[in-house]
């Protein structure tokens, strides 16, 4: 009886310890890279299926600043902030083909948020949220071009993320 009394706290302690063990950085890097590559591939497929004329240039980089374009990667915090914005943007797109990309992005965001928690990084609140909401409100009705622009910028960010995986080690 005394044995079991002692055993349970030990087991619970071990479990909590296991839960607290952070994902090894290299494993996280692999996961992030795989997920980012998957997202890039899906975006390419999605945008190719639209069969838009290759002559079209939808949205200069300086236009629509609410959707991050060429945003620098300065650590986990900036990555999570940017991905959160993208996730919010994708949520405004209609259900269907983008749903899977949204799920992939959500998974990736989950990895990184867990990593931030284990590293005790401070989670930033997305800036200009009100402005983003208004932007989504005004533009979501044009879901094809809006999605094309957002996914293209997300693809660029994913490509940048893949070559900056070392930033996952810092907040």
């Amino acid at each position: 009886m005394y044995f079991s009394v002692l055993l349970y706290p030990c087991i619970l302690g071990m479990l909590s310890l296991v839960h607290a063990i952070p994902v090894h950085p290299d494993s996280l890097k692999n996961l992030v890279k795989l997920q980012a590559d998957t997202i890039i591939l899906r975006i390419k497929d999605h945008n190719e299926k639209l069969k838009l004329s290759p002559k079209l240039l939808i949205g200069d980089p300086e236009l629509y600043p609410e959707v991050p374009a060429n945003k620098p990667i300065q650590g986990l915090g900036s990555i999570v902030e940017t991905l959160s914005t993208f996730h919010k943007v994708l949520q405004r797109l209609p259900k269907g083909h983008v749903s899977q990309i949204r799920n992939d992005l959500f998974t990736l965001l989950g990895y990184l948020k867990d990593r931030m928690t284990s590293m005790r990084c401070t989670l930033k609140e997305p800036a200009n949220e009100r402005s983003l909401d208004a932007f989504l409100e005004n533009n979501a009705t044009h879901h094809i071009t809006f999605g094309f622009l957002a996914l293209d910028r997300l693809k660029q960010f994913m490509q940048k993320l893949i070559v900056n995986l070392d930033h996952l080690k810092s907040c």
Binding site: K49, L50, K51, L52, S53, K55, L56, L57, I58, G59, D60, E62, L63, Y64, P65, E66, P94, K95, G96, H97, V98, S99, N128, R130, S131, A134, F135, N138, N139, T141, H142, H143, I144, T145, F146, L149
Partner: protein
């Protein structure tokens, strides 16, 4: 002590709430129109003063009819301290849902200072609301405060106050408070903007309350990044304003507020964010098929010009510019006609080089009617019946899939159409979106379903044609299961399976199978349709395992094939264990680094068709080391098996096995490092075209081996292509009694054969022999070369003879020419000297150089060549200016022929009229020499001109035709110029004079080997020529040396080579014409 008890009783009798009783005139009220009070700072204020009768003491008691006083509302700014006055203040509190009124006596404020003993005032307030029957009553001494709930609505509140003092009472006049004036106006709502077709941006808004009295408005805007710098625009009397100073691409925040008639400003409205880019007018349009639609696009970007607008249909097709219209610098319009029902989009972009800059926005066109969605459905009958439908649609449209279930058959639905409108439509669970498929669950397979699409946002007017689907017709069943297959000894593959339980209709099946050992290049053999869940397949061989799969579909009616079932590997039926183990050989490889010896067994596949009742399913390899250690491995029917050998005596036995046991007659191999005994005396190999014959003999005093093994490497398999030694090694076992072996297969001739005598206790010393054999291909090549050489030699001989005949046939005897009589020709030995272009004559030297065919003698004349010389029967020679040379001297130098033409080409007008005559003698060795006279007219401008002009026409097709001109020239002896012969090079050069000049340095003139001298056109008959010659003996002699047969084979190449400076097509001729002496 006189104690005065002052009882002041304020009594609010009827404070009435009237919900929204405002009259239209109320809007004109001034702040002081508060029925006795004033509205100020969101409060209602009033001063109430009352005249009360003399007060009685408390000791006297209250009479039954207390005296009544009078109250008056005064200007709040001038209170009268002599009276009993009250300050009344009302305001809204909380979420502006409660009205608070406070009455406070002036006495209460002054009591502390004026009286040592504070007088008592009793205040009572009643607040009543007659609509909601709300009443609030409150009382107090000196001050009283009442609150009444307004339930969020504006109301006019009636206020009555009664004051009691020492039994005297005074009633206030009726007071009204409008709660509407106690609050700020609501800010305007629904702020938005429109763009006109002229490009004007107009902001509009609405009042928050329908009866708002707001007149004045202010609208402010700022860019999102600089919210401190507001631009404010005042608007009066209207709820819209045009803002034309906005820039494109900037995110603005805009707000509006309003002012009430009592000058209260509302709060700023909710911010409205916007970015101007391209606006479409209208942004959405409904049309009918075939109707024209005009859409305007406004470029808010001032750097974009409407003249550079590009309209795109559905982001894919550029609309022709003929359909555009420029409204002004910023506005473009397009007119399109959409023929098909459905959904389309229009984007107006700006030309930017080869590309088009666009923004997110686009115009939407809904064309009424029904479009074809091209549905494809597939159902599944399982625990939960499902049906998945796919469709095609515009990528730009968001759609909803709607369906409706009918309990009748699809064929009868059209009759019922229209009667079931009341029934509810159901929607795909995934809802609206850009889906292209939907899975419906919990269906009834035997019902009929009507399925169609609706374009989201299309107000339900744009739909697809509906399809009526009975899911039972589109079932894709589950694949069959419980598959069993057996390879029987009678060469039959017996297969059975279980059909899926659902759907219950009759099924047909397809079966496919492939031998397991052929899986690398899987070629399935398909059998079907089968009506029973079993099949027997006749095989060519027994003992073979197969991989088998089955699928099914509905027997009668439509439906889909199921997926192929899981693969099943057939079982080979055996009635007994195999009798014999396989034969095998070994490859020993010593690892140089790890000092490990690897042994790979090469196992011959057991004969599968040997005994169908004892098929071999695998191998057992038994190892027996010197220390009596025994172990074994079980493998499949592998061709190779490797193990490490520790260089001790090691015996390997390979046994065949199946489910019933292992073979009993097996072959052993003993590996040993003992010195190997030598027993082979000789070993040789003889190879012929396809076989190698091997023979050997043994030493007489040695024991006879158990068997022999002959091994060699297959040279066909390239070791560079990662083919291992074990795969390249070929071997054959020979019985011990044999002493020779004939191997017939593809050999390369350089194989090294090794003969291993195999004893019971190990191998004897091997003997090697390399079977060298000439490459048959090389032999064949040599034979071909030899044959070709013979053919060439014979051809050359024949050609030479032919040449001789032609030459001597065509060349007349120059001695017969009148001009040649008495002439002294010096002979030259070879024709090579005559034709000094041996480098250019690749074919001729073989024929001509070897034999002295003719001799040419050139007589030098020191005088300039003139026509008079010819006329004087002098022998002119070729001359360039004053310089003369013998032909032999010229020809001896390979460059001299060039000088011949060079002088010709250099014939300038200054030299025009000069001529040169060359005499030559062509000799036959067996005949007296024939004289040849050649007279050339060099640089005759008229002649050159004629020929340079004519050459292009004549050359190639009819070279002999040139002589037509000269024939009658020859007869026309009176014209000495015409009697001159033409420079041979010029006559046959394809090039113009300029070309000729360019080419002369590259050796065109070396190609002088075609000799032709024509007398008449008829050349074929030698006798005729001779007759003609005799007839014209005194007049003219034409000598012809025709080597044309030699050239004909080169004609085709010579055409091209005229450019590349090889042998030209037309070859110069030496010709001699007689010149009649005057």
């Amino acid at each position: 002590m006189h104690f005065t008890y002052l009882h002041l009783d304020y009594f609010f009798h009827h404070l009435t709430l009237q919900h929204n009783p405002r009259v239209p005139g109320l809007a004109a009220l001034s702040p002081s129109d508060g029925r006795g009070g004033i509205y100020e700072d969101l409060k209602w204020k009033a001063l109430l003063c009352c005249e009360l009768p003399f007060a009685q003491t408390l000791d006297d008691g209250l009479s039954e009819h207390p005296p009544v006083g009078q109250c008056q509302l005064l200007n709040a700014t001038k209170p009268e301290s002599s009276r009993n006055c009250l300050d009344i203040l009302c305001w809204l509190e909380g979420e502006q849902t409660n009205l608070i009124c406070n009455a406070k006596s002036h006495r209460a404020a002054a009591a502390a200072s004026l009286f040592a003993v504070r007088p008592q005032l009793v205040v009572q307030m009643n607040v009543l609301s007659d609509e909601a029957n709300h009443a609030a009553q409150c009382a107090g001494e000196d001050t009283a405060m009442c609150s009444i709930s307004l339930h969020g609505n504006d109301a006019t509140v009636s206020l009555n106050i009664s004051i009691s003092l020492n039994g005297s009472t005074a009633l206030s006049p009726k007071m009204q408070v409008s709660t509407h004036h106690l609050r700020r106006p609501e800010p305007p709502v629904n702020l938005h903007y429109n763009v006109t077709t002229e490009g004007e941006v107009i902001f509009r808004w609405s009042d928050a309350q329908p009866n708002s009295d707001a007149i004045n408005f202010e609208i402010r805007y700022a860019s999102n990044s600089s919210l401190q710098q507001w631009e404010v625009v005042k608007v009066k009397g209207r709820s819209w304003v045009s803002l034309n100073e906005l820039s494109s691409g900037i995110r603005y925040m805009v707000q509006v507020r309003c002012q009430s008639h009592i000058n209260y400003w509302s709060e700023w409205s909710q911010p409205f964010y916007f970015t101007l880019g391209v606006s479409y007018i209208p942004a959405e349009i409904f049309t009918t098929p075939g109707s024209e639609v005009t859409i305007y696009a406004v470029f808010h970007n001032r750097s974009w010009s409407a003249s550079k607008a590009v309209w795109m249909l559905n982001g894919q097709v550029k609309i022709p510019e003929s359909q555009y219209r420029v409204i002004n610098e910023q506005v473009s319009a397009v007119t399109v006609t959409v023929d098909e029902p459905g959904f389309d989009t229009l984007m107006c972009c700006h030309q930017w080089g080869e590309r088009f800059k666009c923004i997110i926005a686009y115009a939407k066109i809904y064309t009424e009617g029904m479009f074809n969605a091209d549905f494809t459905c597939q159902s599944k009958n399982s625990e939960v019946d499902t049906m998945s439908c796919e469709w095609n649609k515009s990528a730009w449209a968001q759609v909803r899939l709607l369906y409706r279930q009918y309990t009748s058959m699809c064929e009868t639905i059209s009759e019922m159409e229209g009667s079931e409108e009341a029934e509810e439509n159901m929607e795909c669970p995934s809802g609206a979106g850009d889906h292209r498929e939907c899975t419906l669950r919990n269906l009834s397979l035997f019902s009929c379903y009507k399925i169609w699409l609706e374009v989201e946002g299309g107000r339900g007017k744009v739909r697809s044609f509906p399809v009526y689907v009975a899911p039972i017709d589109y079932v894709k069943p589950s694949p069959p299961s419980v598959l069993e297959a057996t390879t029987l000894p009678n060469k039959i593959l017996s297969v059975s399976w279980s059909r899926p339980r659902l759907p219950v209709y009759d099924m047909q099946y397809e079966l496919r199978f492939v031998a397991l050992r052929e899986m690398a290049n899987t070629q399935w053999k398909v059998i079907g349709p089968l009506l029973e869940p079993q099949a027997e397949i006749q095989l060519k061989e027994s003992c073979i395992q197969f991989k088998v799969e089955v699928r099914c579909r509905r027997l009668n009616g439509s439906g889909y094939w199921s997926d192929w079932s899981m693969s099943y590997t057939s079982v080979v039926y055996n009635s007994k264990a195999p009798e014999m183990g396989p034969d095998f050989w070994r490859v020993i490889e010593e690892h140089p680094v790890r000092s490990v010896t690897n042994v790979t067994l090469i196992i011959k596949q057991p004969v599968l068709a040997g005994d169908p009742y004892s098929c071999v399913e695998g191998l057992v390899i038994e190892h027996r080391a010197s220390g009596r250690a025994v172990w074994s491995n079980e493998t499949t029917l592998a061709q190779f098996h490797s193990f490490q050998w520790r260089k001790e005596a090691h015996t390997v036995t390979v046994m065949s096995r199946n489910a019933l046991g292992i073979s009993t007659q097996n072959r052993n191999m003993t590996l040993s490092h003992q010195p190997k005994r030598r027993c082979v005396r000789s070993f040789s190999a003889v190879a012929n075209s396809s076989c190698v014959y091997l023979s050997w003999s043994l030493l007489s005093d040695h024991p006879v081996p158990q068997s022999f093994v002959i091994e060699w490497l297959d040279l066909k398999k390239d070791p560079e292509q990662d083919v291992s030694l074990t795969e390249r090694l070929q071997w054959v076992r020979v019985q011990s009694a044999s002493r020779d072996l004939s191997l017939c297969r593809r050999f390369y001739g350089s194989e090294e054969f090794t003969l291993y005598p195999v004893f019971v206790d190990g191998e004897g010393e091997p003997v090697r022999y390399t079977a060298t054999r000439g490459d048959p291909a090389a032999y064949i090549l040599l034979l071909i070369i030899a044959f070709l050489s013979v053919v060439l030699f014979v051809t050359l001989l024949m050609s030479q003879n032919q040449m001789r005949k032609l030459m001597w046939k065509d060349v007349p005897n120059p001695n017969k020419c009148s001009w040649a009589k008495g002439m002294d020709f010096r002979q030259i030995n070879t024709i090579e000297n005559l034709f000094p272009h041996s480098e250019g004559l690749t074919a001729c030297p073989l024929l001509l150089v070897s034999e002295s065919i003719c001799e040419v003698e050139i007589i030098e004349k020191t005088h300039p060549v003139t026509l008079e010389h010819e006329q004087d029967n002098e022998v002119p020679i070729y001359k360039s200016g004053n310089k003369t040379a013998t032909d032999s001297a010229l020809l001896a130098d390979s460059s001299e022929p060039l000088s011949l033409e060079a002088s010709t080409a250099a014939a300038t007008p200054e030299t025009s009229g000069q001529s040169s005559v060359t005499y030559s003698t062509v000799l036959r060795s067996d005949q007296p020499s024939l004289l040849r006279k050649q007279q050339e007219s060099l640089s005759s401008s008229s002649d050159e001109g004629n020929f340079s002009a004519n050459n292009s026409e004549i050359s190639g097709s009819f070279p002999g035709g040139l002589w037509d001109l000269e024939n009658h020239v020859c007869s026309d002896s009176a014209n000495p110029r015409h009697s001159s012969s033409y420079n041979s090079v010029e006559e046959f050069s394809e090039t113009s004079d300029q070309d000729y000049e360019a080419s002369e340095s590259t050796g065109v003139a070396k190609d002088l080997y075609y000799l032709e001298v024509n007398e008449e056109e008829e050349e074929e008959d030698e006798e005729e020529i001779e007759e003609t010659q005799s007839e014209q003996e005194n007049n003219e002699i034409v000598m012809k040396v025709d080597a044309r047969p030699l050239l004909e084979g080169k004609k085709s190449t010579a055409v091209d080579s005229s450019v590349s400076h090889s042998i030209p097509l037309y070859l110069p001729q030496f010709r001699t014409e007689c010149i009649n002496p005057p």
